[in-house]
């Protein structure tokens, strides 16, 4: 029994390492899993929906967030970073999901300090009309009212750092080209059960 014990321990360590690899793999997969790529067709033109927030000759960056989603912090940080890099060349508006009887969520207050207007979105009706299903969803509407980019600003769930979405928006705002017109969105689902279309 004594001679067998080292082998037993080694086997235990192998199983332990295997369990860790599996768990870390699952965690990484979850972290890098974006919201649904396919989006429902928009019923309204975002430029019309947010016409009140557009200034002539300026692009408008719209971000739809779920205030209680843990990834919202990272999305808001990245949006703030992006706006500071555009040096006022781009306007922004934040659409904040608001369920009934929710108090005002503090997470969006920081952007309000940066003079980014915050639209309260009861039950995610506006988000649905903008075609946003996942918290952190952004739309870049150019001066002509055309949606030039759609997607998220973070590289993974709750992860800060540069992302293809940021690079594309920055390039477009500065008048340059961008081959990237969409990016995965990492965040909680904005879909309200009552608004969700019945499964086909």
């Amino acid at each position: 029994m004594t001679e067998r014990r080292p082998a037993v321990f080694a086997l235990g360590v192998i199983l332990w390492v295997g369990s860790l690899l599996t768990a870390f793999g699952a965690l990484a997969r979850y972290g890098s899993q974006p919201g649904p790529a396919a989006r429902p067709a928009r019923a309204s033109d975002p430029a019309d929906l947010l016409a009140a927030y557009r200034r002539p000759g300026h692009p408008l960056l719209v971000m739809v967030v779920h205030p209680r989603c843990p990834c919202t912090d990272a999305s808001l940080d990245e949006m703030g970073e992006l706006l500071s890099r555009t040096a006022g060349a781009c306007d922004a508006v934040l659409v904040r999901y608001q369920a009934a009887n929710w108090p005002a969520a503090p997470k969006t207050e920081r952007l309000a300090d940066r003079t980014v207007p915050v639209l309260s979105d009861p039950d995610g009706r506006l988000a649905a009309r903008l075609g946003a299903e996942t918290s952190g969803h952004c739309l870049l509407i150019d001066a002509q009212g055309v949606v030039r980019f759609e997607g998220g600003l973070t590289p993974a769930r709750g992860h800060r750092g540069s992302s293809p979405g940021q690079d594309a928006i920055l390039s477009l705002v500065r008048g340059g080209p961008s081959a990237v017109t969409s990016a995965p969105v990492f965040g909680c689902s904005l879909a309200n059960a009552c608004l969700r279309p019945p499964p086909s």
Binding site: P6, V13, S19, A28, G124
Partner: protein, 517 residues
């Protein structure tokens, strides 16, 4: 692998080995023991660290990402589950191995894997914050506390694999870009290797220092053993010398008594010799021969005896005979007196010898004796000497209980004290010649016998040395007497003290003896 083997070889060469193979194994044993102590201490530290990190991770997830949302509906966030279960798994594995196999290398490798796993978990839980990546460098430093450089490659391998695999399959979660080159993983690993190089060097140096400490410990232990052996030898020598000294002192004490006895007997025998010489002269010159002459004269007269008595000589003969009778009576009385003196002297000698034999027979035996009886016997042995030197003896005996003593030892002490008193008086010219012996009960169930003399006294500087072996103020002394006396007194649970007002003021030696129960 080649680098690892080179580091191992370097590690071995950094440990200076003693030339003696036996010593090498002892130093190795000390080193192994020290290493086990280090392992135990760092193991203990890591058990705490693991569970603190687990609690921190759970708390972090509970605050930062407690729930995931679908509109207004929430469910538990996978991060919270990961912090609880994955963190728990990370902490549980090494904790169990530390409990079961604390010294195994495998255990330390598992600790290294778990610690780097916590780095990965915390980085994930904090959303890949660059600040949390410093946990990796802190963890490597913590692992270096084991002073085992082999753990650092393991930890580095875990970090490198984490970055490599995630760089391949989930690059966004580790580098923040959708596509990462292999060299980016290499760049991240290089910074870790940079710290590794420092820490491995630190491990090797600290191991060498530990080895040197063990070398010194071994040297100290050897020196200590050698010193203890020498101390034991010297102690045995000292005990032997002490026994010899005590025996010599006792012999000296017995010799003192014997000398005292012989001295006194010799004094008496001198008187006896004088008396015997006188008796011999008296007997040689005795007038008894005149009777023989008268008788011969009368026998020569024969028949003419009546005419002889008519003659001048015959008529003077009765007067001569009367005078001769008177002289013979006087002579007889003188001889009788001398015979009585001789008898007295012989009796005195007998008493001295009996007293000596009485004390000598009781060597090693304790008995209950009246203290004044002991003093009287001691005085008897010295009385002749005192008388001859005109020393006045004063006795002051207060009521005192019997003492439980070895009579021979007490006699040895008292004879010695009395002889010293006599010598002190004789050495001090012009001093009064008086010895006072006092007996009195003392506190603490003890009896004091004090011998005070009016002699030379003791200088204050000598008071502390008076009982030391070999110390003497006598020109022909050997310094055994008082030393053996104090030893003998202490062997009987008593004591001997000295007091003096200084030179020329006499001295008092007090023998304290335990009273009989």
């Amino acid at each position: 692998m080649k680098i690892a083997s080179q580091i191992s070889a370097l590690s071995a060469t950094l440990l200076p080995a003693p030339a003696d193979p036996a010593r090498r194994s002892e130093v190795q044993a000390l080193f192994d023991k020290s290493e086990r102590t280090v392992f135990a201490r760092v193991n203990h530290f890591f058990v705490w660290l693991f569970w603190l990190q687990w609690a921190f991770g759970v708390g972090l997830a509970a605050v930062w990402s407690p729930a995931t949302w679908t509109g207004a509906q929430s469910s538990m966030h996978p991060h919270l589950l990961a912090a609880f279960f994955l963190g728990g798994l990370l902490a549980l594995g090494p904790t169990a191995l530390i409990r079961l196999r604390p010294v195994d290398l495998l255990t330390r490798h598992v600790v290294a894997i778990a610690q780097m796993g916590f780095s990965a978990l915390l980085i994930d839980l904090t959303g890949g914050r660059i600040e949390t990546h410093f946990h990796v460098f802190g963890s490597l430093a913590f692992l270096a506390l084991y002073r085992d450089w082999r753990l650092l490659p393991t930890a580095t391998l875990v970090v490198a694999l984490d970055h490599l695999l995630r760089g391949i399959w989930f690059p966004l979660t580790v580098y923040g870009v959708p596509y990462a080159s292999f060299w980016r993983t290499g760049e991240h690993a290089a910074w870790v290797l940079f710290e590794d190089a420092v820490l491995i060097w630190g491990c090797l140096v600290s191991r060498r220092e530990l080895w040197e400490i063990c070398l010194r410990q071994d040297e100290n232990a050897r020196l200590l053993n050698e010193m203890e052996r020498r101390v034991a030898e010297r102690t045995l020598d000292l005990e032997k010398a002490n026994r010899q000294l005590v025996e010599a002192s006792r012999e000296a004490g017995r010799a003192e008594v014997a000398t005292g006895v012989l001295h006194n007997v010799g004094n008496v025998l001198t008187s006896v010799n004088l008396i015997v010489d006188d008796l011999r002269d008296r007997l040689r010159d005795s007038r008894v021969r005149h009777i023989r002459q008268v008788t011969a004269t009368l026998q020569l007269q024969g028949a003419r005896l009546p005419e002889f008595f008519q003659g001048e000589v015959g008529r003077a003969l009765p007067g001569f005979m009367a005078k001769l009778g008177t002289n013979l009576e006087s002579e007889n009385e003188y001889l009788l007196q001398n015979a009585e003196t001789l008898t007295a002297h012989c009796g005195h000698i007998r008493e001295i010898i009996v007293a000596q034999q009485s004390s000598a027979r009781r060597v090693g035996m304790t008995e209950s004796v009246a203290p004044d009886q002991l003093v009287e016997e001691a005085l008897l042995l010295n009385s002749e000497s005192f008388a001859r030197h005109g020393i006045e003896l004063v006795k002051s005996f207060a009521p005192a209980p019997p003492v439980r003593v070895d009579r021979h030892k007490v006699m040895q002490i008292l004879v010695n004290l009395l002889k010293n008193a006599k010598d002190s008086i004789l050495s001090a010219e012009g001093a009064g010649r008086q010895v006072t012996v006092r007996v009195a009960a003392e506190a603490g169930r003890r009896v004091a016998i004090a011998v005070h003399d009016s002699g030379a006294g003791i200088a204050p500087d000598n008071m502390l040395k008076i009982f030391q072996h070999g110390f003497t103020t006598k020109r022909d002394g050997h310094g055994f007497g008082l030393h053996s006396c104090v030893l003998a007194a202490r062997e009987m649970a008593g004591d001997l003290t000295a007091a003096s007002g200084g030179l020329g003021r006499g001295a008092t030696f007090t023998l304290l003896l335990p009273s009989a129960p």
